[in-house]
């Protein structure tokens, strides 16, 4: 018997629990060789209202079991996204959420309003957690009032599902999680990258031109599992776990920790078929353990 892996997350019915994480799947047209039958959904690369050039190179560097990136949300802007990508998404058999960004709450709202109703756009993931921009990003994500204001600004402009991507760079993620839940979020994505730094011992300066970057990959997995778990305990809306998932077992850790679904990011760079491998591994685990659907998977979510 093939287990039922479908889930419902924040207003979206998904055929499985594994989505592609923002910034690691482009606009969905770039990743080669992925068996897309397993892809439950994708979150597009972060977009602003206007085109952005991104940061100067070097933009990435590998670190032990991980990588630092400072891409700086390079992107073509909302109009080009609507023109060039949304028509393609409309034909796909999985939903596409757009990762939206802004330098002010009203810019986030404006981006959502422009995209609302565009065929191919199934929902939004509000990025209040990018560490690689001078304005906005993470700075909204570590203040509960600013986080709620951004969420509200988007909520007011759309009826589509609104997910909020949380930053790990906070002392209590539960406070932020509750604030955005109160402001109308349908789901949370936890977490974005951790801020890190690496020094070049030849040039005596940071390896990244932005000085700091966002750490992703297996190096952050236990930290991300913990934060996703804390967020899941704090709210009633679903939490989507993100951070360092390379294999099915990693994804299952997030699910057992209380997440409804997961996103796979950096792993796709290493293994273009990572999402399908994770999906298939979860199915295999469920069959082996005799679970007919993900509802039957035991969760560790003590309420205190």
């Amino acid at each position: 018997m093939t287990p039922d892996l479908s889930v419902e997350v924040g207003g979206l019915k998904l055929r499985g629990p594994v989505l592609a994480a923002s910034g690691t799947f482009g606009y969905g047209t770039e990743v080669p060789l992925l068996e897309r039958r397993a892809l439950a959904g994708m979150v597009s690369k972060g977009i602003f209202l206007k085109p952005r050039a991104g940061t100067a190179p070097s933009r990435i560097v590998e670190t032990p079991s991980g990588m630092l990136n400072a891409i700086g949300l390079q992107g073509p802007g909302v109009d080009a996204l609507i023109r060039d990508y949304a028509p393609k998404w409309e034909a796909w058999d999985f939903p596409v959420l757009v990762n939206i960004n802004g330098e002010s709450a009203s810019e986030y709202g404006e981006v959502a309003a422009r995209l609302d109703g565009v065929p191919g756009v199934a929902g939004f993931e509000i990025n209040i957690s990018c560490p690689n921009v001078e304005q906005g990003g993470m700075y909204f994500g570590n203040d509960p009032r600013a986080a709620a204001a951004v969420t509200e600004a988007v909520r007011r402009r759309t009826k589509l599902p609104v997910w909020v991507k949380l930053t790990p760079m906070v002392s209590d993620i539960g406070v932020i999680a509750r604030a955005v839940e109160g402001a109308g979020a349908d789901a949370l994505s936890a977490v974005n990258t951790f801020v890190g730094m690496s020094m070049d011992l030849h040039a005596y300066q940071p390896r990244l031109s932005f000085r700091t970057g966002g750490l992703s990959g297996p190096a952050i997995r236990p930290l991300a599992v913990h934060l996703a778990h804390q967020a899941a305990r704090a709210v009633d809306i679903p939490v989507v776990g993100v951070g360092g998932i390379m294999r099915a077992e990693d994804a299952l850790e997030f699910l057992v920790a209380g997440c409804r679904a997961v996103q796979v990011g950096t792993a796709t760079f290493v293994n273009p078929n990572a999402i399908a491998d994770v999906h298939d591994g979860i199915a295999e685990f469920m069959a082996r353990k005799g679970f007919a659907s993900l509802d039957e998977l035991p969760r560790y979510l003590p309420r205190d």
Binding site: E30, R59, F269
Partner: protein, 252 residues
């Protein structure tokens, strides 16, 4: 584009600290063009794959050139025949040899020799007269496998061939293809704005997804070394904004 677990079938030394590794990868070997690369991953090994220009291809195998600069390359050099590495490729846009020309200069500095044997092969197939100018810091760092209608060697210390840079040593030609440290390519761009140069950047994915391999352009903005590159018309690159030195933290 193909993803394959490729067994090691060949290893030979071509200069001090410089090695050629051959992998059985028939699909990639049959389709790769000069200047394209493969992204090679090791399990266990560093997290990210590493880009390597394809050095030679044919007989169901591809060859890459490397130097032990970090744990990743050291691990590759420690492979034994039959051990497998994961190869993703061919990737990127290679040299354009369809332009009308009679002569070509291949200009390579150090490890920049990597795409040149394939470039020489494709240039000869296109009926071009090939001059290969190859340089290194010192004689024993020169790759021993240069070939062509004419071969010119150069060393910084004068221990072999022309004493000075490859850019100074090279003759003009209808086409100039160059690869080497970004500093050398910037010098090539001064002399031959129309040269086709293969740049080096850090890469995350190698397939156009992560935007980590940004190359600054003279017309403004960035594009992706792994997709629009790694070969550029020299005058299109904003050389001062392209890092001239890459230092791999955990490996190279």
């Amino acid at each position: 584009m193909f993803l394959t677990d490729a067994p090691l079938v060949e290893r030979r030394q071509v200069a001090r600290d410089m090695w050629v590794l051959g992998f059985a990868a028939p699909d990639i070997a049959a389709s790769v063009k000069a200047g394209q690369f493969v992204n090679i991953g090791m399990r266990p090994g560093p997290l990210l794959r590493r880009p390597f220009s394809v050095y030679r291809a044919g007989d169901d195998r591809i060859e890459v050139l490397l130097k032990a600069v970090g744990v990743g390359t050291a691990q590759m050099l420690a492979m034994r025949e039959g051990d497998v590495a994961s190869c993703l490729g061919p990737l990127g846009r290679g040299f354009d040899l369809t332009l009308s020309a009679k002569t070509v200069s291949l200009v390579s500095g150090g490890l920049g020799v990597a795409p040149m044997p394939l470039a020489a092969r494709d240039a000869r197939a296109a009926g071009l007269q090939v001059t290969w100018v190859h340089g290194a810091r010192t004689a024993d760092e020169l790759c021993s496998e240069t070939e062509g209608d004419e071969v010119i060697l150069a060393t910084d210390d004068g221990s072999a061939g022309f004493a000075g840079t490859v850019v100074a040593a090279a003759p003009d030609a209808d086409l100039v293809l160059a690869c080497g440290p970004n500093r050398m390519l910037a010098a090539a761009a001064q002399r031959w704005p129309q040269a086709q140069v293969a740049v080096e950047t850090y890469m995350g994915c190698g397939t156009g997804v992560c935007l980590g391999c940004a190359v600054p352009l003279t017309r403004g903005g960035y594009d992706r070394a792994c997709t629009e590159g790694p070969v550029y018309v020299a005058s299109d690159v904003d050389w001062p904004a392209l890092p001239s030195h890459l230092s791999y933290a955990v490996s190279a």
